[in-house]
Symmetry: none
Subunit: 259 residues, 2 copies
């Protein structure tokens, strides 16, 4: 088969974009599901797998469902006990949720999530976050997310973990292929890392406390809201520094008042 | 929760469209894959499962991966030894293929297949056809198909059977939901009005000035940035009020300092 040099260049840039994506499984219960997730992720061009868990998993049971062809994702899999550490260097974190409860952050569809993500992908490390089989991500885990995708279902039932990974990875891969063929080389902005955002949120909460801005019971609600709207923005490092500098100055004003 | 009669009507017409769809597994090898396919099909609103095979399958192994909630598709599953008989009453048959060989019929993507199918769905019985785990549909089996969808992959490897069912069912279900909602009334989150945003931006700029936060020449640059990132968020009224309340308190702190 003759290969068109333009096609080859497109394939290479698709590969480069997909290299910026990691699947992060938080607290999975069954090694078979990790293997099945690794297989479909590899099918869709994803090369990084991270598991957040205290316990090691049976290598053989993982590799069996991953199949020989795709076991490299299992071989290079990273394990973390702490979700914050696992995500610290990522610039954009997408959560997944089956539920649409009141307390949930504004949910988006997988397709809109991908459309929003594509312009950022060239310059940023992206994590797709999946919760445990039985209960999904907790609100505390969803706090790390810049956006949360909900796979629409007809029966409101939860989807098998590897199936959820399949649908999100498929949406992302097909989105990337289309994006590349439509726009050869548009640049995107480098976003702040998850660790920088967490530092900023801590400082905002501290600042609000120093100001006695809210009734004690309202801090949870408003920090949730602030994370929600600042998370969606896609802040850059210098914007995070701006917010933190602003908070520092507000705190010093509040101190002078008390002094 | 109050249910919007329009929403209810939309749900009902989505259900009616999905009732015209069947998953047809041709020669599957493992009962676990039939169960997993049944589960995700039910998740995506599909209520018919047909298996083309000479041999019966272990009910327990099928039901286990289907999960209790979705076992009705296993309970009502139809078996045929002959593919022609299995498909006889369908009006539109979509095949699936991983391969793009010379002998293959013109392939389409899952998304284009669905777009093509949607206008036909109200009036026609549709079958989505999947081949055995190891080799996919033969050319003889593909002959029954009106169109053949190929799931794009990065590595040209075959996808697990239930994952393929997941991706096609998901594409179809999301396509049907969008198709229905485009004709019915749409609702989305109510955002703050432009005037509210402008008031907020003015107050932020005033606040930064009162704090002597920036060098005079930098206000233009940073207000542009703040508008840029807060503008992207899609703030609601109560979030705008929160930001304005925060600014007011910061200004009063700054005044006390000067006083």
């Amino acid at each position: 088969m003759k290969i068109d040099p333009d096609d080859q260049k497109t394939s290479e840039s698709i590969r480069q974009l997909m290299d910026n994506v990691a699947i992060v499984l938080v607290g999975p219960k069954y090694p078979e599901n990790i293997g099945a997730a690794a297989r479909i992720a590899a099918n869709m061009g994803i090369n990084q797998l991270i598991v957040v868990s205290d316990e090691p998993f049976d290598q053989e049971r993982m590799s069996k469902t991953a199949t020989h062809h795709n076991s490299r994702l299992i071989d290079t899999m990273q394990m973390y006990a702490d979700i914050g550490k696992a995500l610290a260097t990522f610039n954009w974190v997408v959560g997944t949720s089956a539920r649409q409860g009141r307390q949930r952050r504004l949910l988006t569809s997988p397709r809109r999530m991908v459309a929003d993500l594509l312009p950022k992908l060239a310059e940023n490390q992206v994590a797709l976050l999946f919760g445990p089989e039985d209960c999904g991500l907790t609100n505390d885990q969803l706090k790390f997310c810049n956006s949360v995708a909900c796979i629409p279902t007809a029966d409101f039932a939860s989807i098998n973990l590897a199936q959820a990974v399949a649908i999100l990875s498929y949406e992302l891969y097909t989105g990337v292929v289309q994006f590349q063929s439509e726009s050869a080389g548009k640049s995107s902005a480098k976003l702040a890392q998850s660790g920088e955002l967490e530092g900023m949120y801590d400082q905002i909460e501290l600042t609000l406390h120093k100001m006695d801005f809210l009734k004690e019971m309202d801090y949870g609600y408003w920090m949730h809201n602030i994370r929600n709207f600042l998370g969606r923005v896609g802040l850059r490092s210098r914007e995070v520094k701006f917010v933190r500098g602003f908070c520092r100055q507000v705190v010093s004003l509040a101190k002078e008042k008390d002094a």
